[in-house]
């Protein structure tokens, strides 16, 4: 571990204070303003409503537009739930986990296993037992995947800190192994994961059909985003995580065990990936072992767009990607996957570090 070389204390500026005593105050004011500006930058956030409004005339029909927008937001928050852990792990410890996708797959298959014996609950046409089944599946998936993530960190990631090349290779290897284990346990074929009875179908508002599960997914995603924002901005742990993302060594110098913090973030990020996996599988109403590799690409696009390490950026990026996927899927189906690449290129040309660049990188 290399420590930053001691910096000489900044010399007080040969100040013109005698000439104008108010100068430092106004400088401090400027700094304050700069900090405020840096604290929140609304422009990227406004991209989401802007995109929604701009495509409306292209799509033409209001009901279709509403349906597509709800679908895009639902898939967007699902991607956010999955990607938030990945971007924090990267921001905190400079570890890019190519095996993150396998956590998604494990989460989805856990839900499959939970739904099996709970058939009575999922097929009941009542919202209570249905939600209980989903809640239980999500809880089991999160706990199981958290444990898997803990083991993954221990066995796969820990020995290769600070070596990017090996990290990429070894986490990729971890993903191969995880995927093959899933095939060995649950079988290589597509497994159907039908939605519980009461969540199937759609609400018809005007002419627009809004699928019930999508609304649930959006609510769930917003809850996760809110909880994560609260944790990161209002608690001591969150403060340490944000500080660690900004400058890991400084946090260590202040006497906090960043390693322990990192393991915690890794495990929590894995659990979120597991939760996201359940959401993703329910959205698709099925799961294949290769789901991890498929979603990985989207995840990388999202965290690059958002700015590696930034949670808010990850949220905005995920919504943009989700919306783009649905809009182009409707308008120009052949370009559906390319649209995300084009989005990434456009964002990077505008802000090379991503929408919300994190300091030090």
């Amino acid at each position: 571990m290399s420590f930053p070389s001691p910096q000489p204390q900044p010399q007080p500026q040969p100040s013109p204070s005698s000439a104008s005593p108010r100068a430092p105050a106004s400088a401090a004011g400027r700094v304050d303003a700069a900090i405020k500006a840096a604290r929140f930058d609304p422009i990227p956030l406004l991209l989401v409503p802007a995109l929604i409004v701009v495509v409306a005339p292209l799509i033409g029909s209001v009901p279709t537009w509403v349906t597509l927008t709800v679908a895009g937001l639902a898939i967007g928050v699902t991607i956010f739930v999955i990607a938030s852990g990945l971007t924090l792990v990267f921001g905190l410890m400079d570890v890019l986990n190519f095996g993150h996708g396998v956590f998604i797959a494990f989460g989805a298959y856990m839900a499959l296993s939970v739904f099996g014996p709970l058939a009575a609950w999922t097929q009941a046409d009542a919202i209570g037992p249905n939600l209980a089944a989903i809640g239980l599946a999500m809880a089991v998936a999160m706990i199981a995947v958290a444990l898997i993530g803990w083991a993954f960190e221990r066995v796969i990631v820990r020995p290769v800190y600070g070596q990017h090349l090996k990290q990429i290779l070894i986490t990729m290897g971890g993903m191969i192994i995880g995927e093959e284990l899933i095939k060995a346990i649950w079988g290589p074929q597509l497994a159907a994961l039908p939605l519980p009875q009461a969540l199937r179908g759609a609400w018809i508002i005007g002419d627009a059909a809004i699928e019930r599960y999508r609304v649930l997914a959006i609510v769930l995603g917003l809850v996760v985003f809110g909880a994560l924002s609260w944790l990161l901005t209002r608690t001591k742990v969150g403060l340490l995580i944000r500080a660690g993302v900004q400058d890991r060594e400084m946090v260590e110098c202040l006497g906090y065990r960043i390693r322990r913090l990192f393991v915690g973030v890794f495990v929590a990020g894995s659990a979120l990936a597991g939760l996201g996996g359940v959401m993703w599988a329910l959205y698709q109403q099925g799961v294949v072992p290769q789901i991890g590799a498929q979603v990985n690409v989207l995840l990388f696009i999202v965290i690059i767009i958002g700015g590696l390490g930034s949670t808010l950026g990850c949220f905005v990026g995920a919504l943009l990607v989700g919306l783009m996927m649905n809009y182009t899927g409707f308008l120009l189906p052949k370009l559906a996957l390319f649209s995300n690449i084009l989005l990434m290129v456009a964002v990077l040309l505008w802000r090379p570090q991503g929408l919300y660049p994190v300091a030090r990188r």
């Binding site: 890019l96 796969i156 095939k183 990388f300 696009i301």
Partner: protein, 361 residues
């Protein structure tokens, strides 16, 4: 070592008796494959080894010598294969069509590699890995969607020039018990091309240009400080690796007389390449040869072996599932992770090191 041989190997010999012996076996085995291992299957295995040697060696230029992780290598491989396939389908089975297909594929690959490189190599290794992953997956989707041109998921069956067709017979009678037919000629065409391409790559990495690449791998900052424009060298390495991969793809298409997304573009091939480079030995070129031979042999014959093991342990629930021949990738994944940990220099590096310990070779 004698002069001309030294020159052929660009003064970069095996540097270990064990490696030299292995390489000699491989060379003799491949050169005389039609005579030593008669039969359609074994000849196909030998041709696949040849194609993989070029493909993996070109990836080694990127990963082992320049220290860049790219996941778009199969994209260039696929472009080469599709170039030949499309040209032969559209123009007809002539040598001119082969040439046009290859030239067009090389041009497309070169341009694409240049654009990706200039766009994303300025930033860190991880960033490049993610962007190439995204671009490659988008390209794969594109290839299967442009079904008018590429044949979609079914791929393209096409005819090669008369001389290379299996029905063509050069002589009436077999020579040394082997009939000199189109397959035989195609095999030697692939063999000669692979040999020339491999020696060219060896020449490349031992040129002053190759030394700069290795300097960048070791310490990009220092290389820049000495006065080399690292971005130019990295981009050039990316383009060169892409061109060699394209050539390998063309060879594959000529040998198979078929190309589809699964034969040349799939992500599994990308993983295979990674496995081979790491297990064979990164940054050694000869690792590509030995790794490819072992891998392709394992791919074709290890499954048979696993079938035996799986049958023996069929009654044991977990072990039986893990030893089934479909799970062979699991064991390769484990091998991959172990070799990143314990043999980071791969088989060739290991053999060289043990040779050095034992005494001067």
């Amino acid at each position: 070592m004698r002069g001309p041989l030294r020159a052929c190997l660009s003064d970069d010999g095996p540097r270990s008796r064990a490696v030299a012996v292995l390489l000699l076996f491989v060379l003799v085995g491949l050169a005389l494959a039609p005579f030593l291992f008669p039969g359609a299957r074994s000849l196909s295995v030998a041709a696949k080894i040849l194609v993989f040697i070029v493909l993996v060696a070109s990836y080694d230029l990127l990963l082992g010598y320049t220290g860049i992780v790219s996941f778009a290598h199969t994209m260039f491989f696929g472009i080469g294969a599709y170039g030949v396939a499309i040209a032969c389908t559209r123009i007809g089975p002539t040598w001119g069509a082969l040439g046009i297909g290859l030239a067009g594929a090389l041009a497309v690959s070169g341009m694409l590699a240049l654009v990706i490189g200039l766009f994303s190599l300025r930033v860190r290794a991880i960033f490049f890995a993610m962007i190439t992953l995204a671009v490659a997956s988008a390209f794969q989707t594109l290839a299967s969607q442009l079904s008018d041109l590429t044949g979609g998921e079914d791929g393209l069956n096409f005819k090669v020039p008369e001389v290379l067709r299996p029905s063509f017979e050069l002589f009436e009678d077999p020579v040394l018990g082997v009939s000199i037919d189109g397959r035989f000629i195609t095999y030697y065409l692939v063999f000669a091309a692979a040999l020339v391409l491999f020696l060219a790559l060896l020449r490349l990495v031992n040129s002053p240009f190759g030394r700069v690449l290795q300097a960048i791998r070791e310490n990009a900052f220092r290389a820049e400080a000495i006065g080399y424009r690292t971005i130019h060298y990295r981009t050039a390495s990316n383009v060169l690796a892409a061109l060699f991969a394209t050539a390998a793809g063309a060879l594959l298409a000529i040998w198979l007389r078929y190309n589809g997304p699964d034969t040349s573009l799939s992500f599994e091939i990308m993983l295979d390449i990674l496995l081979i480079v790491v297990v064979g030995g990164m940054g050694t070129m000869y690792g590509a040869v030995i790794g490819s031979v072992l891998f392709v042999l394992a791919q074709n014959y290890l499954q048979d072996l696993l079938a035996l093991g799986g049958a023996a342990f069929e009654s044991v629930p977990v072990l039986g599932a893990l030893l089934s021949p479909d799970r062979w990738l699991l064991w390769l994944g484990v091998l991959f992770v172990l070799s990143v940990y314990y043999f980071p220099s791969g088989i060739v590096g290991r053999l060289r090191a043990s040779g050095r310990r034992a005494g001067p070779p």
